[in-house]
Structure formats: C-alpha cells, structure tokens
Subunit: 496 residues, 2 copies
Amino acid sequence: MDEVPKKDERRQILGDMPPEDFRRFGYRVIDWIADYLAHPERYPVLSQVKPGDILSHLPESAPDQPEDMEAVLQDFEQQILPGITHWNHPAFMAYFGITGSCPGILGELLASGLNVNAMLWRTSPAATELEQRAMDWLRQWVGLPATFEGVVYDTASISSLVAVAAARESVPGLAVREKGLAGSGDASRLRLYASEQAHSSIEKAAILAGIGRQGVRKIGTGADFRMDADALERAIEEDIASGWRPFCVVATVGTTSTTSIDPVPRIAALCARHRIWLHVDAAYGGCAAVLPEMRHVLDGCEEADSLVVNPHKWLFTPLDFSAFYSRKLSVVRQAFSLVPEYLKTPEDNQVRNFMDYGPQLGRRFRALKLWMIMRYFGLEGVRSRLREHIRLARLFASWVDDHPDFERCAPTPFSTICFRARLEKENASIQSQDALNEKLLEHVNATGRFFLSHTRLNGRLVLRMAIGNLRTTEAHVRGCWELLCEQAALIKRTAG
Amino acid sequence: MDEVPKKDERRQILGDMPPEDFRRFGYRVIDWIADYLAHPERYPVLSQVKPGDILSHLPESAPDQPEDMEAVLQDFEQQILPGITHWNHPAFMAYFGITGSCPGILGELLASGLNVNAMLWRTSPAATELEQRAMDWLRQWVGLPATFEGVVYDTASISSLVAVAAARESVPGLAVREKGLAGSGDASRLRLYASEQAHSSIEKAAILAGIGRQGVRKIGTGADFRMDADALERAIEEDIASGWRPFCVVATVGTTSTTSIDPVPRIAALCARHRIWLHVDAAYGGCAAVLPEMRHVLDGCEEADSLVVNPHKWLFTPLDFSAFYSRKLSVVRQAFSLVPEYLKTPEDNQVRNFMDYGPQLGRRFRALKLWMIMRYFGLEGVRSRLREHIRLARLFASWVDDHPDFERCAPTPFSTICFRARLEKENASIQSQDALNEKLLEHVNATGRFFLSHTRLNGRLVLRMAIGNLRTTEAHVRGCWELLCEQAALIKRTAG
C-alpha cells in the first residue's frame, strides 16, 4: 500500500479505462449499433426467451478480478441480446412505438461523457440554459403560448406527479407542504378527476400524494372514449355538495388504449369556473401538435395549468425525456423547493436552479439530445416523419374497415389503431370472440416478426397497432396485416 | 404526398440518420470523449460563464430545415462546452466527486442504442433479469443479506420517496393507498424522523407523500454530526404520548455535509421495538462498504426495512443509477402496483415486472452499465480505487490537522473533508472567520483549477473537499492544498 506504483501500473490499478482502449471499444460499440440499426429485422422483435433463461446464464456473483472489455461485449451479444425485445425494430408496434434516433443516441453519448448533474445552474450553466432554450423551442413547435415555461423530467409519471403536487399545493387554506393532509379534517378531502381511460400513472400520483384511490374519481367516456364533460360537471357538483374539494382535473390528449382526446376546451372552462388545477396528459398526443393539421389536438390547452408531452414517445428521443410545461411554475417551485446550505450559490437570485422544481435532486443533462434531434431533423423533417406515421395508420385502418373479418374498435386520431378480428356468426359470444383475438395476438407475437399489444374496451379484448418507429415502412404495416388475415383465417378454420 | 419517393430520397425525408453517417459521427463523438477524458484539465473545472451567456448564443427558435450534424457538433464545442462545469475533471471536488467511467459510458451507449423500456419483463426479459442479477451482485459487494431484493431507480430522491411510501403503506389500520391521508383523523398524523443532517430529499419525500414538513421531526446530532439516538428515543415517546404515529425513521450513512454515520444498530433496535419502518440513506456511504475494512459503516443495516446506495455517486456509474434494496419488497409493490389491462401479460405470475415497484412506468435499461462496470473493474479493482480515494482524503486531512492556519471541522470517515481556514486571533468573530472562508472558496473556484463546495456546521461556514473521481491523484489534492494555503495567506494579508 505504501509504495506508489509507477504511472502505467498505477493507471491500471487506479484510473479509468485508458483513452486508447475507450476509443477502440467505443468504435466497436458504435459499429455494433450502426449495424444493429441498419438491420434490426435480423432479430425477433419480441424476445423469445422463457422466464429465467437469461438469469440462468449470468454468474451468481460478480468477478473479483477485472475482466477484459472484449469478453464483456461478447457476453452482451451472447447472453443479453437474446433477451432483448427490440423497440427499434420496425415491426415493434406494441404499447407506443418509439424511436431512439441516431442524433439522440449521439446526444446521450455526449451527455454520459460529460456526466454533469443539472441540479444547479452552477453545476453546468449550459445544461440549465440549454434546457430552458430547448424546452422553449419545443413549446413553439407544439404551439403553446409563451406563458408556459418548461422543466425536463424523466417520465410522464413524474411530470404528472409534479402536476398533482402543484395542484395540491395551490388549494387555498390548506398549506399541504407545511401541514400535510392529515389533521385538516374535511378541508383536505381532495378529489382528482380523470377519465376512466386516463393513464395509470395519474392514479399512482394520487396514491403517492396521499390523496388515495378514493380521492380519484374516474369519469365515464362516450362511445369515442373521450371524457364525458357533462359527467365531469355533475361529478364536481355532487362532490362539492357532499364535502369533497375538487382540486385537480387531468385531461388526456391521446389516451393509452385508444389515443382518444378529451374535450379540453369544455374541461378547461369547467376548471376555470371552479378554480381547479387543469393538467393535460399529452405525453403521446401532444407530439402530433408539431403538425399544423394536427395542432387542434391541443385546442384549449392554453388554458391548462400544466401539460406534459413526451419527446421519448413520438419525437425520436431516446428514453428518458418528459417535457413538462406550466403557466404557474412558481407554484411548482413552492411545492418542491427546499435548499440546504450546501446547495446555496451566490447566483441563486439570478438563475434558474432546476432542482427546485421537482422531487429529484439528481438530473441528467437531457436537453442535449433534444437539441441535437431538433436541429438534425428540423421542424419540417420531424413533420414529414410524423405525417408518414399517421398516413400508415390511416392506411391500416382503411384495410381493417374494408375487411369483413375485422373491425375497428375506436377512432384513429393519431397513429395507433384499435381493432379486432370478428367471427362471422352474428350470435358469437363475447368469450369466443375474445378467445379468437387472444390467439391471434399470441400467434402474431410468437412469430417474432411483429409485436402488437392489446387493451380491453367495453370489456372486450382489442388489439392495438402503434406506429412510431422511424424504420417502419408501408411494407411492414402491410406485412403485419397479411399475417393477421392469414392467422385469423387459420385460427377460425382450426376452431371450426 | 401521394407519390412514394425513391429509397434514398425516402430515407432522407423519412428515416433515421443513415447508418454510415451514424458510424462517422459516432466515431467523432467517441474520439472527442476519449480526448476529453484524457485531458479534462484543459478546461476550467467550474464554468466561468455568467448567467445568460449560454442562452444568448442559442437561437430563439429551432430550425425549420434539417441541419448538418457537423454543424451541431461544432456548436456543441463552441456554444455548449464553455457552460459546462466539468464533473469529470480530476479537480472537481465539490458536492460529491463522481466519475462516469468509460465502461459505464459504453453501457449507456448500448442502452440508448437498444432504447428498451424495462417496465415489464416481456418488454425486454434481459433488462429485467440483468437488473435482478446486477443488483444481487452489488448486494453481495456491500454485504447485505440475501433477504434484501433490489430495484433500480434514477436517483436517491426517488429511492427514499419509495421507502417513505412503503413505510406509510405499512401503517396498520390506515390503508393510505385506498383512503389517502385525509379523513382518518388523528390516526393519520404520521411522523417521520431523520437527523438534522439528513438529505433534503427526505423532507421533500415527506412533503410529496402528504406528510408535510410538520410530520418530519429532525433529531439533533452530537459533536460528530451523528444522530443522537437518545434524542430519537425521547422524540418517539413524546410523539406517541401526544397522538402522533411514528411510522418511519431515515438513518443516514454518509450525510451530505460531513459524511457522518448515524448509529444504525441502536436506531434499528428502537425501530424494531416501536414497529417503525427503518430506511437507510447510504447513497454515498454505502459505496464504501465494498471495502472489507469499511464494511462496518453498514453495521445494523441488515435490520433495516430498506436501504439506498447510489452507484452513480462513488461506484463510477454515469448518472443516473440509484440502487434500492428492501427486505419487504412486497410492501413496496403493494404501495405502487396498478396494472391496467394494456400492461397485463400472460407471464405476469412467473416474472418480476419492475413497473410494479415504483412511481415511474418508463424505466431505462440501467442495469447494463452497472454490469459492465462491475465486470471491467472487478471487485478488487473497485476496492483499490475506493481505497486510494480514502487514502487521499486522510492525507489531506492530516495536512489540515498539522497546519496552524487551518482546522478540520468534522471527522473524515470516507473521502470528504470538512475544514476551514482560521484567523490567528483568539477572539476573531464568527463573521470575520466566515468572511475569510467565503473569500477563500471564491478565490479558489474562480481560478478554474479546482472546484470545492461549502456547508454550514453549527452556524459556521465550512469548506468541503470531496474526492471521488478516478482521475484525481495525489498531485491534484496537493495542488489544491497549496492553493488554499497561498490564497488564505493572501486574503489575510490583504485584510490585515
């Protein structure tokens, strides 16, 4: 221990990987990713391993002695890759199809090379100021007024949690930050409203915020899965009459199941009348507002108190990046800011310290990748790509509509289609209909050629095709459609 | 719109960056990072820009048309880099010194290339199973029993928030998840305990969870800044007597100001007696437990209900990576799990779906980088590096102790030293002493050669040197010491 090793030895024992090795392995990984993204179809889109398969190949303990990066990269390909479901595969059409585009990957790479924590302005002024700028660029792209200021979080779950916390903080006479929710008696019986189609993260946020599931009132939707604003109005009035305090409405622009769009203008008017915080979950749908012909999906959102749109969903940004906007960022700050002595800086009054605006102190330099993506593709480049996804979705929807053995189960306002195969018999039971679609989904996914997901609408199983990958072409959509037709016919023949 | 462009044209209008371009720019970025990490001293460690400087160089709107990646990378160097505070600089000794090591950067790069969401097992079985395995490897390294299971979150702020939510959920007779905190009357007057040296994220978690600041009781510390367990005991008993429900104690192993270690064994015994959830914030200090001679810092933690250790702090992992462990992961699941139809999978009963264990649905594939780091350095490699940091810190502490113009302000159990310059006069006022140290800190940071931070202990300004970067050598520590001595003398001469 006492003798200091020579420089080379020392580096090996004490330093980071030598730069020349980093360069060599870095090139290797770049090559691998370039090849991978050129041909993701070489892999099954949905991993075909069984539970425990991957674990069984991984040693039970980490090595005592350093290993060669060569070996680690080989094991990545041999042990890890078979267990990857390929989100970058052009036939990944489950959940929401996404793309971590190449300029975004380069942005992530630079950010991890710098490894700055964007908690305070001083801990990297460029990370803070680029966050302000890139978020303002995106605000302009989706057409929100300049009164909206942005903060980057990791996920929409956190963005919506922040919105709920700010809504809670703004309830007059409560002072939840200081006093908590207990002990204020009925004054703190808070109610949050969201449609029965809203994302599960809204209810999770309410649970975490101490509102509880009983504090969440789910509002019914019409045949088009949009929140019934009349029902919302009645619910609010009923609740006020029975001693609840309505404090937050979450409207969704692009629900997860069907991508339905809640009637935000009417909801906003209701919220204004009752002084309720309106948060809009536009995590998916808000991305489409970059298109002038789709800007209407955010109609009314200029009246919202906060809104989230996720570039990692449909703006080609690698995970994670959630863009939160609010007209009342000072309330967000009030809900969250706690500055211990060791985080005070001389310039606190002149700058934005983003750590003051959320639950997390540690903050990656996420703005870098968005900035690189926006510049590389440009507004028109992003628009043409979104337009193509919507075109493909409408094309697929038209095939479904025109085919006697299939039916569409919801409107298709964006690039996600809800549909199902149907049995010819008029009197086919719901069970047999569901069983057909369950089998169909299983068969399609088991091929490894396409990956679709499902949902349940009005109690019935529905398949979802979500188009959002930059590598998805008409040929992929057509290929999936042909497979669906073929498999549906096969299942019916076998069953019959 | 109707004519389909030819393949090459199409790619340009619709696809991602062409693979050959990605390869070229990828090499470029790798080269840049390799050079950067070989000589981070070429840059001032603390960015020298003024508020607004970076913003003023960034156009007010994003471009309409695509830009050349060449230009974007140039702007990165010219517009962004001057506003970076260099966390990878060997003389970054503020807050906690960290390193995003090269194997970790390669791990981040691969993860962003794959861009999988590790929310469900099926959305990448390898992401889930590698998370289980790598977290178990780390558990073994820090010497926690096998009853602790791990989940990866982004930050310790979220890990501690999860702990508070689980603690709250486990309070008998409350059912906070269902009923929330209001309306249960005094039964929900919950109290959380942490030392006055605990991290601000603990209080933030309590605010967010609806406990409120009044529900947080800060326990005093002794001369060594460790929680006074007797005071904790008295506080709990007093609170019970006056109708509060003690539900959670957060002990810290390595507080942010002084890296003090709360007496966990005594605290654990108290928690067991009163059936209170014990969460240990070992975000920084827990990393050192990888050393057998430092394992004692986690003594008693085997009795904790949950514990967090942050590989992105002192285990060379790029931001973000927080390792959360609990003996009661089923309670965590109970607090958070909400599974909408579209996230149900056929294998739900056989696998772990990590989305069920936290507030966030979206989850990056973080396990990959930790796995690569643990294999590349190996247990012994990590140990030798941690040992060197601790050796350097003790060396610096000895210089402080031996110098008449400086004094150490807290014990140095890890690799962070609290110290200050002192005025010779016996009767020097606190103000003049603080002013000296404030100036000293300013002068040192303004050189751009070193970056230190500060805290306040017993009301007095204290400087902090935190050693945690793989590039920091004895020469850097000595250089900083010489600068401190020189500047302190200069300030005193000028003042005198």
